[in-house]
Amino acid sequence: MLSLHVPGHSLVHRLPAGAKLLTILVFGTFAFFVDSLVVLGSCVGVVAAAYLVARVPPARAWQLLRGVLAMVALIVLAQGFLGDWTTAAQVGLRVLAVVLLANLVTLTTAQTALVDAVVWAAGPLRRVGVDPDRIGLMIALVFRFIPVIAEEASKVREAHAARGVRPGLFGLGVSYLAPLVIRTLRMADGLGEALEVRGVGTRPAPPDRPAKVPF
């Protein structure tokens, strides 16, 4: 599974991806400058209501939130003991609101739509010589090659098992990571050629001597 997206047809799902990303930006900035507990609390409430509108399965929402929640708890405790508890509550609510909203966008937006929004937003970069479509291509390439490289990783592990190697903590570096990295770099040779014959990337500088005509 390479996406956290939960398909659906709710109002939240149907909003354009660019608008949702913009909302995160505006909301995050707003929350950063607000100190009132009431306003921050209602921010969390509004976002929670949006979850109900989107009808996201609670299990999926929890799965994303769980990783952040431990950090938020620790920060609140640290702030409470080192500072004061009002600020601690502000900090906790602020982070919770922003993270909940950002997670909602992740859960309700198709990855392709987000990639398109990124490619669109990168449009002005064309002036400085960046091709926005290439960013989309690179993202697709990474997704395509994660399973391939994961398989290479298990091949290296199998090779170790077959030879009875049990690398220690430092040995792990050289005997596991190094072969994996070199396999990856080798793969890049083939992929580079494949991209080049399809006209991606700049061509190498022409040789000084003109190529010999074979006839």
């Binding site: 995160i24 950090m71 990124v118 994660i146 570096g173 991606v200």
Partner: protein, 212 residues
């Protein structure tokens, strides 16, 4: 940017994601987890060089932003970037940049010690320069004086990762070097310009012409 460079950047980012499949180790009392992914930051700079390494890490941050579960523990999404430990992730491109520049500078005589220093300065210190203020000041609203010490807890893990990364960089340098060294004189194919490593002083004293 050549097609080969694009391929290297994309595949290294994919490798970074595979490193994220390792289990997440949450240290007690500290918000940021111990991850194998800063190892990927060091390797990106030290193997691809600063330019491709930085671009590769930027691509990784972009993947996190669009909600790919590529962070350690299957996490991802904009929430991770805006959350308390987001600064550590934003800092990955800077980490690769610093490691890459140092490794390129020391490339010709790179050994385990200099590679370790490059990895530690880039993959650990540079990452903390952004990550810690974000965590302590922006998220927790504490002052740096109250929380700066917390990175000491990560020190053993980071030293370990930098050692492993340095060994891998040395091994890969021998097997599959990709970096062109940064030397004071630009590299040319012209033999009259002498050898860029400066390892052949005899050539220079003879007017730089190897045929003499």
């Amino acid at each position: 940017m050549r097609a080969k460079d694009l391929a290297l950047i994309a595949l290294f980012t994919a490798l970074m994601c595979v490193l994220g499949l390792a289990p997440r180790i949450q240290l007690p009392l500290l918000p940021a987890p111990f991850t194998t992914q800063t190892l990927g930051v060091m390797l990106a700079g030290g193997i691809l060089g600063w330019k491709r390494g930085t671009l590769s890490m930027l691509l990784f941050v972009l993947l996190v932003a669009i909600g790919a579960p590529v962070l350690v523990g299957g996490l991802g999404g904009f929430g991770m970037l805006l959350g308390p430990t987001g600064g550590f992730i934003w800092a990955y491109p800077l980490g690769a940049l610093v490691t890459g520049l140092l490794v390129e500078r020391w490339w010709i005589r790179l050994n385990a010690v200099s590679a370790f220093i490059a990895c530690f300065v880039g993959g650990a210190l540079a990452v903390y320069v952004i990550g810690q203020p974000w965590l302590i000041v922006a998220s927790a609203k504490l002052t740096l004086a109250q929380g700066w010490w917390s990175w000491v807890v990560y020190l053993p893990g980071d030293i370990l990762k930098a050692v492993v990364a340095a060994l891998v960089i040395i091994t890969v340098k021998r097997a599959y070097p990709l970096i062109t060294p940064r030397v004071d004189r630009p590299f040319t194919d012209d033999p009259a310009a002498g050898h860029p490593t400066g390892d052949q002083p005899g050539l220079k004293t003879l007017g730089g012409d190897p045929r003499l």
